[in-house]
Symmetry: C2
Subunit: 216 residues, 2 copies
Amino acid sequence: MSNNPAEKPKQTQYSRSRQKHEARILQVAEEVFAQFGYNGATIDTIAERAGLSKQNMLYYFSSKHLLYQKVLENILGIWLDSMALLDQSGKDPASKLENYIRRKIELSRTRPNGSKVFATEIINGAPHLSEEIKTKLLSRFEEDVRLVESWISEGMMDPIEPKHLFFMIWSTTQTYADFSAQIEIILGKKKLTASDFEDATKLVSRVILKGTGLRR
Amino acid sequence: MSNNPAEKPKQTQYSRSRQKHEARILQVAEEVFAQFGYNGATIDTIAERAGLSKQNMLYYFSSKHLLYQKVLENILGIWLDSMALLDQSGKDPASKLENYIRRKIELSRTRPNGSKVFATEIINGAPHLSEEIKTKLLSRFEEDVRLVESWISEGMMDPIEPKHLFFMIWSTTQTYADFSAQIEIILGKKKLTASDFEDATKLVSRVILKGTGLRR
DNA sequence: AAGCCGTTTAACCATTTGGTAAAAAATGCT
DNA sequence: AGCATTTTTTACCAAATGGTTAAACGGCTT
């Protein structure tokens, strides 16, 4: 009843197909939750867009709430990784901050729906966010704050409140995902292009670096 | 049938009480829509918080959709006014921009729920926003852009894309309303205080002014 | 070929929710 | 006081929606 002792999750034909389905559902769900919010999204809509019947979808994710949790977990995982970026790549502060900004905007470009789901969650008062994940995000964040504080105390940048600096970076970078509808209207485009995101990256980096007294 | 020819809307006892009710409902509705989104908000909840029966509330606003429209119109009106600020108060560019930022953050403090409703609306792709109001916002905005362009061409500030500068200002200032839940967690407070908003104003102004090469 | 296990469908259901219709109660006006 | 107008309540309702249960289906292994 088991002749592949090395592999952990067995990998049958079944589980392969299941993985595909689950991945597709999660992707579609992210879209739908982003567009309609938790309450506005119906499991019917999600199932339909994923090409399944409602009951069949419920076979893979037994409730709407659970599905939403998974979607949220997914993007929060990515978020967490992109946060820790600050104390990665070992160059000067300016480059680090610039890379941080670049990555954040890149995330807005590649995962706009995830960003929107997260944004809506926060706007509504984070009703579905577990304490566990909150504290995880928080502790990861505090490392970044300490790093910026050290830069300040070493006189490498202006003495500003690091927390508010991060609020500024997060908001300016996420706005290209969350408020894309508004930005598209103003720029007169149907959809933001890669070069729009490049413009954004350049401007945000420039203003933040110069504005905090960092130079490359 | 009319013995007060001067006043326009008659002002009977009825209409006075009606005004009060409508104002209260609108205020509560803004709260509830901000907290639960359009679909998550129920007219029952709104009515209850306003101290009325559902049916009675429907007497004042005949449908949920209409009520939402009114809430949206309300804040958009305020938005429009705060936009035009740029070409108000006739001092130097730096002061003007700083005032603009200050006002925006002030709005985040005083009308956080309106901001949240608007934000959710945009995140969801602005499904309820009429073309009329979009073009109005747009034309008002373009005036501001032209002003900034003139500052640039006169060498008063760095040559940056004004549109993106505004995206940056809007996002950084609105984040104190929209993402207050996140910010509160990070700052470890139950609710943001006036001095938090003051800190925010100072930092955002400082970074943006210095970052764009403006000085007072 | 047969049975087993994972998947899909069919039939159903209880609750929630936005909204209607009409009667009853207040309130203002002459 | 008596009538008209406005406000509030009572009684309903149809559609939408999240979810359950059980039966049918299909392919893989022995």
